[in-house]
């Protein structure tokens, strides 16, 4: 341990073997990142390249051609676009009160040590891992119950006793339940990230807990809550399995021909239809439509929706961080 004051920095430099292994490690790390960047760029590039050719006025404004005999290559994606928007809208309306309520309760009202709390938290957490195809099957099972037929339609043929179990209402409810755990989690984080000092200040002013949450905590958490909702919308827009199972495989709106007219809306909602994801699936070489150029057109629109929602999330984040400073 004795040291020579002229030769200060001692010890051997790193061995060659270790330097080589470090170099390999860094290489692996960079390659991982490159693969992610390449896949991202590839997906976007292919979709833009292939998709842009399919997009024209007819494509956007006509409904898909219902007859498979003619091939899926005629018609457009008006109904799938409307279906996507409709599904996003209804499931968001359904999920927000439920998720917000649960998130507030989880963030502010719970005694973390009680068994009840742990059960609630566990329930929400494990639900997040359930695959969407299982949610779809659940929706079919539940809404085939005859007394729930008002949400879809009476089954036909042999299954006259059961409801059809597929409709926009059904798909929206199932979708809302599917995205709920995720939305709850993001909302809870947003609520928790409001400084405790705000709550203490409110309590010091004689606010009850609920009044403090409503008047101070929730407004402060608004950017995070909005982010949760937008991310949830992205999940709805991108899901295929639930839509395929609970909205059915019909590419057009089955509820009514002129579905955009207000007096047809009840029929529209209890009827089946499609979204951009199921249309893409249907039109891909793996589906009955087999019209890849249509599939690419729809996929292009889908990715545009994803990009816009991503941009909204970034915008919310930027704006809230600007407000804070």
């Amino acid at each position: 341990m004795k040291s020579d004051s002229t030769q200060a920095v001692t010890g051997t430099p790193q061995s060659r073997g270790r330097r080589l292994s470090e170099f390999l490690g860094y290489t692996l790390m960079v390659l991982s990142v490159v693969s992610i960047v390449a896949v991202c760029a590839g997906i976007l590039g292919i979709l833009f390249w292939q998709g842009i050719h399919s997009i024209d006025w007819t494509f956007l404004t006509q409904d898909p051609n219902p007859s498979i005999a003619e091939g899926g290559s005629s018609g457009g994606v008006r109904a799938p676009i409307a279906g996507t928007i409709l599904l996003i809208f209804i499931s968001t309306v359904l999920v927000v009160p439920l998720a917000l309520g649960a998130a507030i309760y989880l963030a502010d009202y719970m005694d973390e040590r009680s068994v009840f709390t742990k059960a609630i938290r566990l329930g929400v957490e494990v639900l997040a891992g359930v695959p969407s195809v299982v949610f779809g099957m659940f929706g079919l099972a539940m809404f085939s119950a005859p007394w729930l037929a008002f949400m879809s339609s009476k089954g036909d043929g042999a299954e006259i006793q059961a409801a059809f179990g597929r409709s926009f209402v059904v798909a929206s409810i199932v979708m809302a339940l599917h995205i709920m755990p995720f939305v709850v989690k993001v909302m809870e984080e947003a609520i928790r990230s409001v400084p405790k000092a705000y709550r203490d200040a409110a309590a010091g002013l004689g606010f009850t807990k609920w009044r403090a949450i409503r008047t101070i905590v929730l407004p402060a958490a608004k950017p995070g809550l909005a982010t949760a909702v937008v991310l949830g919308m992205g999940l709805v827009a991108g899901d295929t399995a639930i839509v395929w199972l609970t909205l059915g495989g019909t590419m057009t709106m089955s509820g009514a021909d002129e579905w955009w007219l207000p007096w047809n809306w009840a029929a529209l909602l209890t009827g089946t239809g499609s979204t951009l994801t199921t249309f893409t699936y249907f039109s891909s070489p793996a589906g009955d439509g087999n019209a890849p150029e249509m599939a690419f057109g729809a996929a292009f629109l889908l990715i545009m929706i994803v990009l816009v929602l991503n941009a909204v999330v970034v915008w919310i984040g930027r704006r809230s961080s600007q407000e804070r400073t």
Partner: protein, 346 residues
């Protein structure tokens, strides 16, 4: 001077008192508070009990199959032919083993690949990547997370599969393995597609776990003369193991349930890829449980088919629930082993 302050303080106190006691009226406020509390409780109970609803309905619909043929379907080998026959006559004998094997193979492959690539990317994002590049890479990861599964499937099917066919499948190969339909789709492409589908989730979790490792561990490592790379591999990654491992288990839960993309690129045949075929195993077609469900989603008016599809859904549901629980247990166990007292224990 002192008197003035005292008076202001007093009047202020009065104001607060007035506001708190009179305000909108204490009764109304009390009512609002208790109603709110009950509504919030209701929302969280609904949220948490959804999982019970799922179990009841999905498992419930699988019961007819179990009544007819017990659990023999779990180890039966025949899926495709049995399904065809079930359309014309009422049979209750199915074999889902090929689907289970297909699911296990794709999931295992994707989890391993996503684990390796994901750790590399996470170390880049959380520790060693140039700071200026981290932000854009993170944006891309988030973007990748938003890419719908059907888009992965579409590109896999129209771009990757034809490429694999052109590159790897020669005429000799076709002759040699005439019993396997080789067209480019199959295990290999399924694993690649699935890898990049679960990768963003794993990268997010792993990056968060690495970032949660206290800075003082890094400084401690550097201070005893470890290089940045060695500090990360010897100290930071081991310290992040609980979170990373739990993330990998949750990624597996996602992989087993992926339906659409795998159905598109898996070759749509309930075939069991054989290890004895060597690399050709990666070209062998397969079908997973989730894929089988969506592929037959339209034909559910036949009772036996409906029941066996629900049985598959039940297997998926119970597996995903077990994996979620496993992730929690693994997390708590590993943390306790490191000596960290966790408040997240079950």
């Amino acid at each position: 001077m002192g008197g003035t302050t005292g008076a202001t303080a007093l009047s202020h106190a009065e104001q607060v008192g007035m506001d708190g006691l009179v305000g909108d009226g204490p009764l109304r406020r009390k009512l609002e508070t208790s109603i709110a509390k009950w509504l919030l409780l209701l929302a969280s109970v609904i949220a948490a009990s959804t999982v019970l609803l799922l179990i009841v309905f999905v498992v419930g619909q699988a019961i007819p199959l179990i009544q007819h043929s017990g659990f023999s379907w779990l180890w039966g080998m025949d899926w495709d032919v049995a399904l065809q026959e079930a359309f014309s006559e009422e049979i209750w004998v199915f074999g889902v083993l090929p689907l289970i094997v297909g699911t296990l193979l794709t999931t295992t492959g994707a989890v391993i690949m996503a684990g390796v690539i994901g750790m590399g990317a996470s170390v880049f994002l959380a520790e060693l990547g140039p700071k200026r590049i981290r932000r854009p890479v993170e944006t891309l990861v988030r973007l990748l997370a938003g890419v719908p599964s059907v888009v992965f499937g579409l590109i896999g099917l129209t771009v990757v599969v034809p490429w694999v066919q052109r590159t790897f499948i020669s005429d000799e190969l076709l002759l040699k393995y005439s019993d396997i339909p080789l067209d480019g789709s199959g295990l290999g492409v399924a694993i690649i597609v699935l890898t990049f589908m679960i990768l963003p989730f794993f990268v997010t979790v792993a990056t968060d776990s690495l970032r949660a490792v206290p800075q003082r561990y890094r400084e401690g490592g550097l201070a005893i003369g470890l290089s940045p790379w060695r500090t990360v591999t010897r100290i930071v990654i081991p310290a992040a193991t609980p979170g990373v491992t739990a993330g990998l288990v949750l990624a597996a839960a996602r992989a087993i349930g992926e339906a659409i993309a795998i159905s598109m690129v898996g070759g749509a045949l309930a075939f069991i890829p054989k290890i004895s075929d060597g690399p050709v195993m990666l070209l062998s077609p397969l079908r997973t449980m989730a894929a089988a469900i969506v592929e037959n989603g339209e034909t559910m008016n036949v009772a036996p088919i409906q029941s066996v599809l629900f049985a598959l859904a039940a297997v998926l549901l119970l597996s995903s629930l077990s994996l979620s629980l496993l992730a929690r247990v693994v997390f708590a166990r590993l943390q306790r082993r490191m000596g960290v007292l966790s408040d997240r224990e079950i």
